[in-house]
Symmetry: C2
Subunit: 216 residues, 2 copies
């Protein structure tokens, strides 16, 4: 325990939200309160970023025909992924992998353009811009869970096609279609675990002292 | 407000930790309680991951000579970055950009090898593995803040050199040197903002409806 530790109840709330956050694919159609959405975006904006570059951009999809075009892109990639999966194709096609048409709010999150100007922390690891955007999305995700809202990160899309659809500038890159909204209930366990797509790894096998984990 | 929302005090704790988390570079040498470290790693392991692939691996550096070799790599890259920054070289060299030798715990976080077997959510966006690891690090970071501990994500290193130093397998990739430890105090604002390296962007300029934000 340190002088800077939060009181037990607050610390417990932080672990609660980390454990109860789920990647949601089932949504109710009810709208998201604009004040809540504003809080979620502020949470995202308070993420760490490499060299404080704040590379995140958010496009809120309020136009229904545009949402339907985005859904068509996702559906196209869902089928392409199923084919690429080979022997697991049928199993994959039975999963619900997105809630693009159902969720109350749809956000596209992207990396800004002109990122090459930012060298601090990125000279040898240019992908740290994506790391920063991912931390922003994780902040938003956790805040949404505390607000009682579900979030699903959909990465089943052809980025160049989505970029064209949204008139995104050269050098930018969309990295997430975020479905945000009310849910009937949160999954007890990660949905892909419940559906037996994959199992949770034993953490002890992923950690080692001074060398690569041998559990691998 | 939804039926799934947390009580106000818990919701406030989640926003508190999001707002008070800092990327720390100043540490006290006191050791980190092993039980706390175990909780932080569990928090990381409960991050979302694309197709539930759990691509994160953690190497805890307990060997002092190894820590010193890692520090030397970071110092080398710090100087290379300074040179690459050109006119901001002197300004950069005055910043404290890492606490590798000072912090109580040093963790290297890496992407596992054999990731090409995982297609779900990665066929067109292979970088989603890094997104997952980044969410795991953000979970750890937030949990650490609630525990009263500071975390600094150092990305100033040549990944191939670090990989060799730690005997990491082909196909794996180190993405973070995490300094974790006790701190005298947390920065009031992001350190790079306090040191006037960069300013916080106006969120309103980073968000737009149905098209690219025009504030750009």
């Amino acid at each position: 325990m340190t002088a800077h530790a939060y009181p037990d109840a607050e610390r417990a709330a932080v672990y609660r939200v980390i454990n109860e956050r789920r990647d949601m694919r089932h949504f109710l159609p009810d709208p998201v309160d604009p004040d809540v959405l504003a809080r979620l975006l502020q949470a995202a904006h308070h993420a760490p970023s490499v060299g404080f570059m704040q590379p995140w951009r958010f496009i809120r999809i309020t136009d229904r025909p545009l949402r339907e075009r985005i859904h068509a892109l996702v559906e196209q990639e869902r089928r392409a992924t199923a084919t690429a999966l080979g022997e697991r194709e049928d199993e994959f096609m039975k999963l619900k992998v997105e809630g693009v048409l159902d969720c109350g709010e749809l956000l596209v999150v992207a990396l800004m353009d002109r990122r090459e100007q930012h060298i601090f922390g990125r000279r040898t690891l240019p992908e740290m811009d994506l790391a920063s955007v991912s931390c922003a999305i994780q902040n938003l995700w956790l805040a949404a869970r505390a607000e009682g809202l579900g979030v699903g990160w959909v990465s089943l899309f052809e980025p160049e096609a989505l970029k064209q659809l949204l008139g995104m500038p050269a050098g930018s890159r969309p990295v997430a279609i975020l479905c945000i909204g009310h849910v009937e209930k949160f999954y007890e366990q990660p949905m892909l675990q419940q559906e037996q797509w994959a199992t949770r790894a034993d953490l002890a096998q992923l950690v080692a002292d001074n060398h690569w984990p041998e559990g691998e």
